[in-house]
């Protein structure tokens, strides 16, 4: 007759507890699937890299035709709605009438005194009054929109691009209030009926999110230059501002350039050759 002492009972109980705990661990190690843990995420090999992307726009080369083709190329590729088009009644019945104060634009034409309000001199050279100035998101170094965004839907990428995560935007429009350049637009309504031809390679936006230029991040990832640069016939040069040997820095070195509202200290990355 074996007398069970407290000591031997505790021993057996302890071993049993280890056994119980070991089973799930063994099962886990034995399973052949490793879930997402061993996956490797990488960039496309052809992707373009920079420390800080920037743009130089040569205002001497920008004509009305160039502006038109640039705006069209950009807006078509990014499914930017045009509220002036006739809505297809069959596809989108009962679309309510358009309020033309609500527009969405990524890149557009502006007059000098609106684009550069702090540079409007009393006797400004006359040519500036009629020249079309292309304006877009400046992808500022100290972007106020990034600071204003409460959900980090707007954020700064490592390469200087001020990006938006549309999934995350809650539509509070703080960023629009913060942006001194009016580069951001709010989707007051579903933009789909107002997109003439949807580009299937880029998503549209939904009602209630803000949108803006993304420096064609989706094209840079494939090793291509932004749409506006391609359509500009040489008027826009795109490159790395931090690389002193880049085309863009050479241009900046050789020409007198200005930026929009420099005095605000947001450090825009879009330069204009005058």
């Amino acid at each position: 007759m074996m007398e069970k002492s407290r000591r031997s009972f505790l021993k057996v109980a302890g071993i049993a507890a280890i056994g119980l705990g070991a089973a799930p661990a063994m099962n886990f190690a034995a399973s052949d699937s490793h879930g997402t843990a061993h996956a490797v995420k990488s960039k496309n090999k052809k992707a373009l890299h920079a420390q800080r992307w920037g743009m130089v726009i040569d205002t001497n080369k920008i004509t009305d035709e160039v502006v038109e083709s640039i705006v069209e190329a950009c807006h078509k590729a990014h499914n930017v709605p045009d509220f002036n088009i006739e809505v297809d009644e069959k596809k989108y019945p009962n679309t309510r009438p358009v309020n033309h104060k609500q527009e969405v634009k990524w890149i557009w034409e502006e007059e000098f005194h609106n684009a550069f309000p702090d540079k409007e001199d009393e006797f400004l050279a006359e040519k500036f009054h009629d020249l079309p100035f292309l304006v877009t998101c400046n992808h500022c170094k100290n972007a106020p929109c990034v600071q204003a965004c409460p959900t980090q839907a707007t954020f700064k990428r490592e390469d200087g691009i001020v990006m938006m995560d549309f999934h995350r935007c809650i539509g509070c429009r703080f960023c629009m209030a913060a942006c001194p350049f009016g580069s951001r637009n709010f989707n007051f309504r579903d933009p789909r009926p107002f997109i003439e031809e949807v580009n299937p390679t880029f998503p549209t936006r939904s009602k209630g999110v803000v949108e803006k230029c993304n420096f064609c991040a989706e094209r840079l990832a494939k090793g291509e230059l932004p749409h506006c640069v391609e359509a500009s016939e040489g008027a826009i040069v795109f490159g790395d501002l931090e690389d002193s040997e880049s085309d863009i820095r050479v241009l900046l070195n050789e020409n007198y350039t200005i930026r929009r509202k420099q005095s605000l200290g947001t450090e825009p990355s879009v330069y204009y050759i005058m």
Binding site: S33, H34, G35, T36, A37, H38, A39, V40, K41, S42, K43, N44, A47, F155, R157, D159, M163, D165, F166, H167, D190, V198, P200, T201, F202, P203, T204, R205, S206, K207, A217, L220, A221
Partner: protein
Amino acid sequence: MNKNAIITGLIIFVLAVLSPFWFNMITATQAAPEPKLLGKAKTEKNCVLNKYEMRANHMALLDEWRDSVVRNADRMYESANGHSFNMSLSTGENSCLGCHEDKTKFCDKCHTYASVDPYCWECHTNPKEIR
């Protein structure tokens, strides 16, 4: 006297409690639909993760992909089983819809049945719908 009343009461109670089961027995119930594997997805057999994990965790994977693409600009994904994918819901051959060609017969099949309504397609476009 009391005994009879209690037993009838109990029977009625049990019947009432089990009413969903009776109801399901009487009416024809729909079995959970199987999402259809078409085209490339049918011949490929290998998704990002194995079938069961995809079934259970595809939403977490898509969430991870989204963050990776938007935030880190990493767009290529080489999964543990050695296949590489273009992290995209609907663009290009190596995206989700590139393989699972028909959204209505794949995604919607279960989503409709389970009455979940993910808002992916408010922005992302189904190439089939654009024509």
